[in-house]
Symmetry: C2
Subunit: 288 residues, 2 copies
DNA sequence: CGAAGCCTTGATAGCGGTCAATGTTTGTGG
DNA sequence: CCACAAACATTGACCGCTATCAAGGCTTCG
């Protein structure tokens, strides 16, 4: 591969013009511990010609259920949904990937990819061939354990999701999902050099609280919520209406405002905080 | 720690009398790739005084939701269920751990354990302190990647489970679960030196098939199935009855017979095969 | 301005939950 | 060996949460 050759593996994915390569310590978001742990040697092995970023438009399929395993992706900006399709035409959204998250490990040699991935917004991501990624991981225990940490967080998240979908009524499921997304978006925005993905308005509401209630932007529709929670969009609409009436939260046009976080947390029964960026200590070079 | 000191971290867990320590390459089951990859040096670090096995009675809690993270367990024999409890008293079984499976990574420093684990049958397991486990993994990239492989399989399993619970009706959920367990038990029994955990009867049924239909033993109740699938035990009972009437499968008193695997697979829409023991190439010493 | 996609709302129906009673199995102690 | 209790399985009656169907409104975009 030549450093000046633009990568283009999908028609609707215009490659970034191969100019100044975007180094990973200039990563717009550092949510993924991977980003924190990749040292220069790792980087050189992963990106022999400098890391490059691909851009994809909203709606692009990054991979499809059943395809052979090929690449892992580090999401740099934008949102991606992974989901399973069923024969009756329904789909289950498995997870929402946010900037810093890792994708492409949702398969095995034997079975191929078990999910499809679709860009919800325009996205930018780094693509790494599986073979290369695993070779580098195998050579760097720190990186391997960082990868393991990422996987662990995905498992915990999946189990939380499973608990909500399996045992909670509509109200709890929606609360669980929105609270989780809110937490993640907020954590992203708190990162030092993050691009402003969310809208902070500092709205004050009727609640007798001395702190402003911030609104965050979630680029998802009620249909996404429905497919993620195992409900129908019609019922999600009714549930959101109910939550508004209960002064729990307000979600309209992608604007989420938590009106009563405490009561919401009780309803959602979300796992306690999993700090997004705090788990592994940052590598020495990343501290500077 | 002295090699002759029996480990006893739970009242109802009689420690194995410290006799000949059970080496990991004598592992009764080798489902976990971890077991395959642990080389002698790893073993010595993990078990400075020789690996030992603890026995626990059915019903023992191995860890509880909210507890601080302490130990990792490699299950040697028996079944364990991990689950989340909700405030309304319901529980969601997250997964069934079978011999060879790894437990104890279901938490983080920040949040503690996010699940509880209870022995369904009498079990035997190796306990490893977290700090030690991660130290050894960090020192051995192969082991770290093996750990990552285990985590990946857990993620894929969780996502499959999530898809079933989120989008499939009762029939599909039960089919999905039983098919998955059947596959795993069968894979275990196929291992060279596995203890006979299942009952092979080679029953021939009305189906015009030239191979006998084997029955496997699943040590779970309809209540377990209900808690895992997000149904009630009453409805699981009805669903099993229906499946019997449809000549799909027969599950009674822990005896599972698949009568029509093809139709079942279609109903379950389970992910394609994830070979349990086949993923990582066995370490050289394990081949002998 | 028309089309497409999403949101909203109402009416109706069904899957699966709840409640309750009974049967079956297993284990324990007399 | 029997009595009894506990846990699980089974069945029926009834109900509620959520799906389905359908129609109309709102935005966005070409």
């Amino acid at each position: 591969m030549d450093g000046s050759t633009p990568i283009s593996f999908m028609p609707s994915c215009p490659a970034v013009p191969a100019g100044a390569p975007i180094a990973c310590d200039r990563c717009p978001t550092r949510a993924a511990s991977l980003c924190r742990l990749l040292d220069r040697r790792d980087l050189e092995r992963l990106f022999p010609h400098g890391p490059r970023v691909q851009l994809c438009r909203a709606g692009t399929m990054l991979f499809r259920q059943g395809e052979p395993v090929q690449s892992v992706f580090i999401l740099k900006s934008g949102w991606i949904a992974t989901y399973k399709l069923f024969e009756n035409g329904q789909r289950q959204i498995i997870r929402f990937a946010l900037p810093g998250d890792l994708l492409g490990f949702e398969g095995s040699e034997a079975a191929g990819m078990t999910c499809s991935a679709e860009a919800i917004t325009d996205v930018a991501l780094c693509r790494i061939r599986h073979s290369l990624f695993f070779r580098v991981c195998t050579a760097s225990p720190q990186l391997a354990m960082s990868y393991a940490g990422t996987l662990t967080r995905e498992v915990l998240s999946a189990w939380n999701h499973l608990g909500a979908v399996g045992q909670q009524p509509a109200l709890g499921r929606v609360a669980n999902l929105l609270l989780d997304l809110h937490r993640r978006v907020t954590a992203l925005e708190a990162l030092p050099d993050s691009a402003p993905h969310g809208v902070h308005d500092g709205i004050r509401d009727g609640i007798m609280d001395d702190i402003a209630v911030p609104a965050v932007h979630l680029p998802i529709s009620q249909i996404h919520i429905a497919d993620a929670t195992g409900l129908t969009s019609v019922h999600v609409c009714r549930t959101l209406k109910q939550m508004r009436a209960m002064d729990l939260l307000d979600f309209q046009k992608g604007r989420l405002v938590l009106l009563d976080p405490d009561r919401l947390a009780e309803i959602a029964q979300l796992d306690p905080d999993r700090p997004v960026g705090a788990l592994p200590p940052p590598a020495p070079w990343a501290v500077a």
